[in-house]
């Protein structure tokens, strides 16, 4: 049997706030196989961002282990963490997080640049990624000349450009209207169909059901881990507005 790509093994993340310890992630265990599409869902403050930061190698757990592709992320140096983010992960943020001074094409090139891909190939791969999200004709524009939906598609292109095995989307539709939200979610499904592992983080049940599997968090604990259509899958979630 193939080893899972992402493993949380009794993972905890505590924050010390004065005398009080905030248990942002409290003994979380789950594993995600290569090629899965999983939504991590929960109310505000339930620990989603904490999990996302750890999966994204932006942060390390207080205790327990996080294995990514078999490697214990907790034991990696800062440089190794940066390299892992670059090679293994494609980030899609709620706020798009494009660099405002760079053109659309240059934005998509950034992860490739840090991967040391030579200029010519970098350009080619970035253009390819832009073509896939249908924005090749906007490659010379600045991000602020694009609509929210378009910017999010650029950020998807950027996440895909380096061809990482894991795509991590943190509230990717949080700033979009429902039509563009559907477009972006459709794109994530497409990315998943192409064989990539997609982790979607959202507070919104109606978004979460895009994924076949749901992991529900409450107060830093996993309260449900199963198929999106399973009983209790949507219990306690916040209903989508509108």
């Amino acid at each position: 049997m193939m080893e899972p790509l992402i493993v949380f093994d009794h993972l905890c993340k505590f924050y010390q706030m004065g005398d009080e310890t905030v248990r942002a992630a409290d003994d979380i265990s789950f594993s995600i196989d290569r090629g899965e599409f999983v939504a991590i869902v929960g109310k505000s403050g339930s620990g989603k961002s904490t999990c996302m930061n750890i999966i994204g190698c932006l942060d390390v757990p207080t205790s327990g282990r996080y294995l990514l592709h078999g490697a214990d992320v907790g034991s990696l140096s800062k440089n190794e963490l940066a390299e892992t983010r670059n090679k293994m992960l494609g980030f899609i943020f709620q706020q798009y997080n494009l660099l405002p001074k760079l053109s659309v094409l240059e934005n998509v090139e950034v992860p490739l640049m840090y991967a040391g891909v030579p200029r010519g190939e970098r350009r080619r791969r970035a253009e390819e990624a832009l073509e896939r999200v249908g924005l090749i004709d906007k490659r010379k524009n600045r991000p602020n000349q694009l609509s929210g939906g378009q910017q999010q598609r650029v950020s998807i292109a950027r996440a895909l450009a380096g061809d990482p095995p894991v795509i991590l989307a943190d509230e990717p539709t949080g700033a979009l209207d429902s039509k563009t939200s559907r477009e972006v979610l459709g794109m994530l499904q497409q990315v998943h169909r192409e064989g990539r592992t997609v982790v979607l983080i959202t507070h919104d049940n109606s978004i979460a059901v895009t994924a076949p599997r749901i992991i529900r968090l409450e107060d830093g604990k996993v309260v449900y881990d199963g198929p999106a259509h399973g009983r209790n899958a949507l219990v306690g979630g916040e209903e989508a507005a509108g």
Binding site: N53, G56, L58, D59, K78, N79, A82, E83, R85, N86, K87, F91, F93, N97, L98, L99, K101, V110, P111, M113, Y114, A115, G116, R158, G162
Partner: protein, 397 residues
Amino acid sequence: MSLGESFTMALRNIRASKMRTFLTMLGIIIGIASVMVIVGLGNGMENYITESFQSMGTNTISVTLMGRSSSRSVSEEQMYEIVEENSRYFDQISPLVNLSGVKIGTESLSYTSVTGVSEDYFNMKQYTISQGRGLQYLDMEDRLSVCVIGEYLSRTYFGGDALGKTVRVGGRPYTVVGVMTQEGDTLEEGGADDCVFLPYTTAARASGMGTISSYVVTVTSEDLAYQAKEVLEDALTELYGSDSVFSVISMTEMLDAMNSMVDVMITILAAIAAISLVVGGIGIMNIMLVSVTERTREIGIRKALGAKERTILLQFVIEAATTSAAGGLIGIALGYALSSAATVLITTLLETSMAVTPSAASITMAFGVSAAIGVLFGYLPAKKAAQLNPIDALRYE
């Protein structure tokens, strides 16, 4: 990411905020320009001084004997002996006897210099004769009443036809036997060409002084000037039994002394000007710190996308160094412009041809220093940027 790309990125960020960058550079620009002008001024002064000395002859040593009241005295024969015995150091010697009171016809010339010299003097000074002859050994031997005059006197008082005419010094008549080739840039009263040279023996007799107290000696090579001076001092000390009754001044030594004085002055001035480089560096640090704060989110994004601390550090250091080096280049250009302006100003105001010349070394150094200041003062902000926690940086609004 390559160094070239970091550099391109730095240029972009600099161009994105031109006004701010320019203001940041200002300290560096002013610092570099003023250091350059001051160093250029120093070079100009040294060149000017060196040229002036060279026209007087840097290979000459002046000797003044003050031993008149002491029982012993040193005769001209003894002086000639010293020179001949140390031919490794000394080339030629001429006594100098100064007289005054020149009259041509009925006109008294109070600015004309009158000097009694030996037949070697013209050769020592590299003066040449344009008409007639120079002074000769026989003129000395026979104490002839002849003279060589400068071009100024020849033109002004004899219409260029002075040979055989008479010049009076101290009431005595002297026949002009030669005219010296023009020495100065212009012919003027009291200038290099307003002069009369007599045989020193004739002049010594006319002056009524028993011994000759002033000599000029040429050394075989400027490199030996210091040793030659010592040899001369030792010989005179032995003859006098004292080292306080004569003075020996080497032109090379004087030139060196003056140049080192200029050096000290210029170094002090340049150091003061360099303070503005430090101020400029602090300006760069300040603006880089602001820039790091403003770009916190960008740094977070870059880190999330795989930028290592080293890469971020390099990016900011290169940006600071590029800003500073660009300021340096502008400063160098400004320094050049100011130097040329100063040259024109000095030439017209002081009527001396002194060129303010910034040296290539000072320019290279100015550029190096400005880049180094950027690295030095950019390092702290860059370090701060590199060490930002990516999560906090991403959350930063």
